[in-house]
Symmetry: C2
Subunit: 248 residues, 2 copies
């Protein structure tokens, strides 16, 4: 029995998210089905976390075990030949038996890509969010620093979650601008439901003076959702990277 | 009664092409439905040509007439507010009563975007084609010149068309390369069924030495489809621009 770690890219537009759901097309289902096609074994794969409907991944990490003796290179090739065009396995590794894509994860990095102002882009509608206002980049950058560190992020979390502990640590938050395209890159030890989408919406709302730095401070201090900004749509969100301890 | 010319961008991934078809989602249907929502008038819109399922447009031109006195700016805004995210109206103009998006068209420019070699891109699977081989760019460029001018393009046309006259004139064909991303831009007076997709497939097949310059010359001289290369998938094809006489 070998324990596998695979790194997966997907376009979330035509999936009902990561997690298996009866009768709906999900990434987990497609992966499990394809692994069974290749190896004949029934598997349950574990993702580093769920991604919601419409959310993409550049580096989702997935673990599962197999009896099969298929080499990593052969497994990668066979999976990619059978997987649909919107999923691609970038890397296949055999790892320690204790490795678990979710429980072993130490850091996650999300990317959020949004076009600010201008005409909306119909061709890229499923892979690029759109914010139809102009914003002050420097102001956004400055307020974004408030997010760094350990905070109670309850104010940056959508309801409908069973989580009890809202403390998370953000290690890094960078915003890059290339013309109208803004890319947010956020690294943390974990993220609450819709947290990245709300952080980005809040910073954009600050950028167009709909919210102030004080509102953001209040959202962080009080844990109240109403002080934070809008939840940006799923289409701009990418799970970019999941990091594990050196020995995992 | 005013005659309108609108320029439309769309992502073809979730459409069964341009043309109305009972019960299927098409671009023509979405536009007609939305124009009716805005003006209360029942319209039939004419496109410069059909685009197939999965084919995109950066500048599809569409004409129709309206009794409504709505200004162009207001019509553009109202349409874009109601249209789905995968269609955007870039321009609205009132034109001469004789203008017809299809019959008045003089030149069309298509763009074909393909990634050559490397890992396939799952995130861009619906907007970027993939050719999994490496190619000789200079050879492709050289052979591409054979396409310029008036030719019988029967060898570069899929069956299933009622066309009798296979002569078309290609005014320009350029290939640009940026890393692994190749962009073909082809301008002509008109295109046969799948003609751009077959020209691009043929040039790529020449680039990887699957076809020779002689094969291409034979395809042009004989009108036989078997001498030309593969039909590339719809996802890489964009109707970029339609040109009309100055006074249209």
């Amino acid at each position: 029995m070998r324990n596998f770690k695979i790194t997966v890219e997907y376009n979330g537009a035509n999936f009902y998210g990561w997690q298996k759901q009866n009768g709906k097309r999900t990434v987990q289902d497609e992966l499990e089905k394809t692994i069974t096609e290749v190896t004949g074994e029934t598997v349950t794969v574990e993702g580093s976390g769920r991604t919601d409907r419409g959310v993409h991944a550049l580096g989702q990490v997935v673990s599962f075990t197999l009896e099969s003796k298929i080499p990593c290179v052969g497994l990668k090739k066979a999976l990619n030949n059978l997987l649909p065009n919107d999923i691609f396995v970038k890397k296949v590794e055999v790892v320690d038996a204790n490795f678990h894509a979710r429980f072993s994860a130490k850091k996650k990095t999300y990317q959020y890509i949004v076009q600010v102002g201008g005409d909306r882009n119909a061709v890229k509608n499923a892979t690029l969010a759109y914010y139809p206002f102009s914003v002050n980049f420097e102001k956004m950058e400055e307020v974004s620093k408030l997010m760094i560190g350990k905070h109670n992020f309850k104010g940056f979390c959508s309801s409908g979650t069973n989580v009890k502990d809202f403390e998370r640590e953000i290690y890094d938050l960078k915003i890059k601008k290339k013309g109208r395209i803004f890319t947010f890159e956020i690294t943390g030890n974990g993220f609450l439901y819709n947290m990245v989408r709300i952080i980005v919406g809040t910073l954009l709302d600050v950028g167009r003076d709909k919210l102030t730095q004080e509102n953001v401070e209040q959202a962080l201090a009080s844990g109240k959702r109403e002080y934070a900004g809008q939840t940006m749509p799923a289409c701009g969100l990418y799970l970019k990277r999941v990091e594990y301890p050196q020995n995992a």
